[in-house]
């Protein structure tokens, strides 16, 4: 007696779940890529309101470190001066070293570090100067602000 072979069942893979999963992955990576996954943080400081433009009551003289930023090339770079000593253009690593040396030489970390910048200096350079002071361990960072409005 001959056995007839059973007709082969047609195998049709169900593509719907695969498409679903791929869609989820696609959306995730598309949005994830445009998220600019950079950790954001903050640099915090306590400004002294009594020495600001609205104040002027008491003056306490503490030895302070002044960082001056001079604009170069219309915002392309900043020339750094610390206590009238020239550090160089965009040499924020050298600024950190200089400030750390001051700490090693006995400077109090509570002494104010005043960041003053020309009006045309890019904000990145001002933050880099503040960053250098924080990296060196200083906790009291102040900003020199002109009384005459210049922004807008």
């Amino acid at each position: 007696m001959r056995h007839r072979l059973a007709p082969a069942a047609e195998v049709v893979p169900n593509l719907a779940p695969m498409v679903d999963v791929i869609m989820v992955l696609l959306v995730f990576f598309l949005l994830g890529a445009s998220l600019n996954l950079v950790e954001q943080g903050v640099l915090q400081t306590e400004l002294d309101p009594s020495s600001g433009p609205g104040g002027g009551a008491k003056v306490e003289i503490k030895p302070r470190i002044t960082i001056a930023l001079q604009d170069r090339g219309n915002g392309a770079a900043a020339n750094i001066y610390v206590v009238d000593q020239e550090i160089g253009e965009n040499r924020f690593d050298a600024l950190v070293t200089y400030l750390r040396d001051r700490v090693r030489a006995g400077a109090d970390r509570e002494n104010p570090v005043v960041v003053g910048a020309e009006t045309e200096v890019r904000w990145q350079f001002v933050i880099s100067a503040m960053d250098a002071a924080v990296q060196a361990g200083f906790r009291n960072i102040q900003f020199a602000v002109s009384m005459r409005p210049s922004g807008g």
Binding site: E39, L47, E118, T119, R122, G151
Partner: protein
């Protein structure tokens, strides 16, 4: 001739596609809400920037400063603040920052709280644009100022 009643068809709900779609929507809205949280700003880089958890900075007034127009010589200001009931974000003229911060500082003082000014300034804006906000903080006697930055050093060895 007797008709047999039809055998009942089992009604099982296929939940898998619904779960797939829900997952898709959850992922989409979670990520999209992060994107829409703030106006887009190219923040400066700072190696010493500390991470903060949401809500860790109490009583904040967030001021965004970003370039406007060509060449980055002008800036626009956006103020995001919490008035105790809802979050509002509005565009401001530079001359309006002083009275706004002073009114917020007065309200915080009445409530016995310390107001914090969070400055989200684009790395490309000029110091004079941020100086406007710093000057307003001084006039409003806001001592606690927080600058937002990207943690780390810019890829490519920027400033």
């Amino acid at each position: 001739m007797l008709k047999r009643p039809p055998t009942p068809v089992s009604m099982t709900l296929n939940l898998a596609p619904m779960v797939d779609v829900m997952m898709c929507l959850i992922v989409f809205f979670l990520l999209a809400s992060k994107l829409a949280d703030h106006a887009p700003v190219d923040l400066p880089w700072a190696a010493a920037a500390k991470s903060v958890k949401p809500g860790e900075i109490t009583n904040p007034v967030t001021i965004t400063v970003r370039p406007a127009g060509e060449g980055g010589d002008a800036a626009e200001y956006l103020v995001k603040s919490w008035d105790g009931q809802k979050v509002t974000e509005q565009a401001l003229r530079p001359q309006d920052i002083d009275p706004l911060l002073q009114s917020h500082a007065a309200r915080a003082a009445r409530e016995g709280q310390q107001l914090r000014c969070v400055i989200r300034a684009d790395r490309a804006v000029r110091y004079r644009h941020v100086e406007v906000v710093l000057r307003a903080c001084g006039l409003a006697k806001i001592g606690s100022v927080v600058f937002q930055a990207n943690q780390g050093v810019e890829a490519g060895g920027g400033a």
